[in-house]
Structure formats: C-alpha cells, structure tokens
Amino acid sequence: MTDASDALSAESQTGTSQLRGFRALEIDLRLFGMVVALAAILIGFGVATGGRFLTPVNMLNLTVQSISVAIIATGMTLIIVSRNIDLSVGSIVGVVGMAQVLLMTQTIPGIIGYDHPATWIIALLAGLVIGGLIGAFQGSIIAYVGVPSFIVTLGGLLAWRGVTFGITQGVTIAPVDPIFRLLGGGPRGSIGGTASWVVGIVVCLAVVVLLAYNRRQRRRFGFPLRPVWAEVLLGVVGSAFVLGLVYVANSYLWPEGLVRQWAQETGLPVPEGGIQSGIPWPVIVLLGVTLVMTFIATRRRFGRYVFAIGGNPEAAELGGINTRWTIMKTFIIIGILCGLSAAIASARIDGATLDLGAGYELYVIAACVIGGTSFAGGIGTIPGAVLGALVMSALSYGLSFIGLVGPIQDVVAGIVLVTAVGFDTVNRRRTG
C-alpha cells in the first residue's frame, strides 16, 4: 500500500484497510476460498434438509469416504505439478488391495498362524512395498525410457486391473484382519473421545510453535514480519477450528446396540452417557500423510525440484537437477500412497473386490484440479488437493442424502469440476 492510496476518500479507505488487514494475515487465499466453498456446500445441504444433514455422523462419514481418494491426491499433486499424469492409480489400488487381503486370509496365516497380532502390519507394509515397486516400474519407463506418462499409466490402468482379475479369477476375498479393519474407520475404527482431545491439543500446539518458529526465523534475518495481532489471530482461529472439529467428532456416540455388544465382549458395564467415537483412524492416517507430503513438497529439495521441473524443465536440467530421478521418485511415492489407500479402501468394505479402486484416477485428478493444481505444471498444493477431495465427497454424500443418486451425482461432479477450473482460469488471468 502506498501513501497515495492512504490519501483516498474515507469510504474507499475503509475498504483498503480491511484489505490490508486481510493481507497482513498472509494466508493462502485459494485455500481459504476452498474452505469457504466447502462450508457453503455443507450449509447448503443443511438448509435443503432442514438441518438434518448437519449431524456429526454425516460429517464423519463424508470425511471417511473421501480419504482413499485424498491420500492418492497428495501424490498426484506432485505428478501433475511436474507435468505428468498417472491414470493407473485406481488399478494399482485394485491389485494391491487384492494382494493385501490375500496375504491376510491365506499366506500370512499359513506362515505365522491365524489371528497373529502382526498380521495386519505385515500385510500393510507388503502393500506399500508392492505399490512402490509398481510405481518404480512405471516411473522408470516414463523417466528413463521417455514414454509419455499418459501412455505408460494408461497401459497400467488396463494391465493392473487385469492382473487383479488374474489373481483370484474375479472372486471377492474377505474378511480382513480385525486390527487391519480399524483403518476403515467407523465407531470401532476411531480413536475415542479422550485420545481425540489429545490429538486436537497437540495439533494446536504445533500450529503455535510453527507460527513462533517462522517469526523468529524471519526476525533473525530482519525480513518483514506479520503484525503481532495477525499472528495471534491466526493462532487463535486455527486452534479454535481444530478443537471445533474434534468437538464434532466427539459428539458422535456409538450406537446403543454396538455399545451393548462391546460391553458383552469385554465384560465391562455399559458406560453412562455412551461411548464417544472421536476421530476415525483413517482421518489420522490422512492427517499424517498430508503433513508428510506437505513437508516433502515445501521443505525438501525434492519438492523444490518437482516444482522447478514443472515451471521450466530446461531450467531445472541446466540447474544441475537430476530431473529423471526426480520424476521417477514422484511415481514411487504415488505407488506407495496407492498401497495405503488400498488398505483403507479394503478395510472399509472388509475385503477386496475386483473393482476396488475402479474410477479413482478420475476422482483423484479432479480433487487435485479442484484444489488448484494446474495442468500447465508448476502450480499446486497438497492441502488444496485434500480439500478438493473433501469438496467432492461432501457433494456426492450430500446429493445422496437428499435422495439424488447415481447419474445425477456424476452430472453434478462434472459441472463442479469444470466450474472450479473455469473460475480458477479466469482468476489467474485477472491477477496474472
């Protein structure tokens, strides 16, 4: 803001100072806009259903529904940012999911016996490794042979689904290991009321520490600082938001039948006031994935290279960056994330079907794009992609809640996708 704008009329001055106040927060306007859009969708459905939609159980369900897509979307962001694409994610989820459940039901019990407590972790890790290897295989063809990623992963989309069929001749396998099943969420797959508050408070502390650390770093070098009120406001609003989400999760109590069943199994008395469900395990997993992926994308050299390649591949090469290895790594990462996503998806349905993960590629790509990732490369954020997945999940869940199912949902999803990108394109053109 210059002196000239301060000298404007009183009316517009209020306008400028409000804007200036907003700018002082230095928050990502795009992300903020997405949070607003998500809130608008939820409130919209709330109004349309006379408030019946806005219950803790609905909020938990629509969140858990988005997680398999959101996890892969964090990796797809890096792929699209570096000007590639991965169409094979849904089929990788299919093949890894099938492999994991097969390991749990047949292979692992044969080696260490049934109901061994390590079964779930072996199956999970095996899934991550298989996913990573598939990613490495496809990534090496893309990065070192130079076949376009669209083609390689289109091949993968077809081939891995075929492999999934080949493993079991299309038969559904079930059930998953009881501990593994916690990854699918639901009342039993949640961490409970007390643990949820602990998680909430830890996140709040992390927010405050991060704000303080950044401020100290900037002061040490004498860079411009945010005003103190802006820092405090960010800390307070951020913490209130996190604790509010925990409150919502804890407001959902286990259904009575489940509580009785639980009391019978454990021999404990039925607790008064019910059992608080709290944050579902898959949400904790997504939180972890988002943090790690954001860290990798913004704080590590690798992430910097991914963005540089997306902005100008030649400049990255001339800067001495090993662009091939960087591209290959993005595909290894998305493969591992597909393994994790497969675990959550199969845990949710308690088994593996032939079509596990089918169509994910389109939802994942849509989540990234709605979240602000540009197909031109070089632009995109991981929290944006996660929010994009949530927006789509909120829409489809809301539509089925008001009784619009199937084809109409697809029409709405398509319209939202094009509208979001259209809005973004116009906005970018305007701001340069």
Partner: protein, 264 residues
C-alpha cells in the same frame, strides 16, 4: 609476461557437435584467459551458442578436448561445469517462472539446514545481499519470478552466476532483451567481474556491444571459427565482413567486398 606463456583459464580444442546430420560446430578451438572478455560473434545458426553449451554442460560435445587450467577435463552435465566454476547466463535466462528469486538463485544448489530441510531464510538473506550489489532497486523476494520485469529477471540470472564464485562466465546475449539503462548496468557488471579476474565468454549479435566490451573477438561462420582477433587490431567493418562472408579480411576478394558494400 606474454600471452603465449600464460596458461589459459579454459581451452576448447577441436570441438565437434552434430545434431543428426547437421554439423552445428566443426573443429572449433577457442581459449580464454583470466580477466579477459572473449567476444563470440556470428550470424544466426553459426554455432556460437552450441559451442558454449558444450562448455556449460548443457550438451555434450561429440569430440574434442576441454582443458581447464591446463588440465584435460570431461564436462557431461551442467553439474560438472559448475564444479569447475563455469557459470552460464543463458539467453533464455533458464529461470523457473513459478518459484521466487531465492529459489531460482539456488536452483540445484539449495542450502539445507542440519535437518535436511531447505534453509529458506539463509537463501533469502544471501539473495538479498547479492541483489543489493547488482540491482539495489530489486525488492521482490517472495513472489514467483514470472511477475518480474525483463531487467529484474536478468538480474537474478546474473546474480546466480556470480554468487557461486564463477571463474569462467558464459554470457549468451546478456543485453538482447534489455533497455539502455539496464544494458549499461550489465556492462558495468562485466567490467567489475573482469577486474576481479573472471574470464568471460560474451556471445552477442550486436557488433558494437562486442567491440565495447571485448579484448579479443572470435568469429564463427557455419559452425567453424573463422578467426580469433585482438580487438585493437581490427575494425568493426572487418569483423562484420568475417561474419557475413566467413573469411578472414586478407582472403576476401575485391568482388566479394563490393557485393558486401552493396548489401550494406
């Protein structure tokens, strides 16, 4: 001490580069001494940029030797070149438009903290210091460089080259996209680097630019070096003749000279 007794900073001998069947550079030899500016001139497609790309590691030469400080070296990637303190300011500037000035300045050579994370603060701090020397008006350290002016982008490319202690600097058309004030700034920068003992290869279309800045001038024509001359011993017209005809002044016939004058 005469020129012949000193060891050149860099010497490229009999370099050949071909793209498919096209010989972009043929049997070209060139050298550069400490504190010297070597102008490289020639028409479009004469091979100036390709010859220099072989030195900066952007494109490996098919054959020929590169000697640095008198020792034979292999340069097969930009990383190799940088290890020998060869820095390049490309005509395209080679900036990633979507990231900010510090990120571009340290592209491929990011500073990290003990935790292995990017040390953004130190990188920004060093960028601010270098830019303060090159272009004190530069204040945009946190926006993507896409939004900056041509002169500011050029300043980042120059800052990147000099920050890492370049001993050999390749400048490909450094003033082609600049206004008069910014061009003067770049010339001033070249003089300063020259005084510090940096050897500079200066590729330019602009014969006046080259005459103003260079000590020696190498003329390229269809991938070959026509001649390398001391600036003091030639006139701009003679150099222009070499650029257009691809022959040394003494080889040019009266008829060709007449044609040249007609064209001019």
């Amino acid at each position: 001490m005469t020129v012949a007794e000193r060891v050149p900073l860099v010497e490229m001998r009999n370099i050949n580069v071909a793209f498919g069947g096209v010989h972009a550079v043929q049997d070209a030899s060139i050298d550069l001494f400490e504190g010297e500016v070597m102008g490289i001139v020639g028409g479009n497609g004469a091979g100036k940029t390709t010859l220099m790309r072989a030195l900066s590691g952007a494109h490996k030469a098919d054959s020929g030797d590169i000697l640095i400080g008198g020792e034979s070296r292999t340069i097969s990637s930009p990383r190799d070149a940088k290890a020998f303190n060869i820095e390049t300011i490309y005509q395209t500037l080679a900036l990633a438009d979507n990231i900010d000035a510090p990120a571009n300045m340290f592209l491929g050579r990011e500073l990290t903290t003990g935790w292995g994370t990017l040390d953004e603060s130190t990188m920004e701090d060093q960028t601010r210091k270098v830019m303060g020397r090159i272009n004190p008006n530069f204040t945009n350290f946190t926006t993507p460089v896409k939004s900056l002016s041509g002169g500011q982008r050029q300043a980042i490319a120059i800052a990147r080259a000099i920050h890492f202690d370049a001993r050999i600097l390749i400048m490909d058309e450094p003033t082609a996209a600049l206004g008069p004030a910014e061009t003067a700034q770049v010339r001033e920068q070249i003089r300063r680097l020259k005084d510090e003992g940096v050897g500079i290869f200066l590729i330019s279309h602009d014969i006046h630019d080259v005459f103003e800045m260079s000590d020696r001038i190498s003329v390229m024509y269809h991938g070959k070096i026509v001649d390398t001359v001391n600036k003091a011993e030639v006139t701009p017209d003679e150099v222009l003749g070499m650029i257009i005809l691809g022959k040394k002044p003494e080889e040019v016939t009266q008829k060709e000279l007449a044609q040249l004058e007609l064209r001019a």
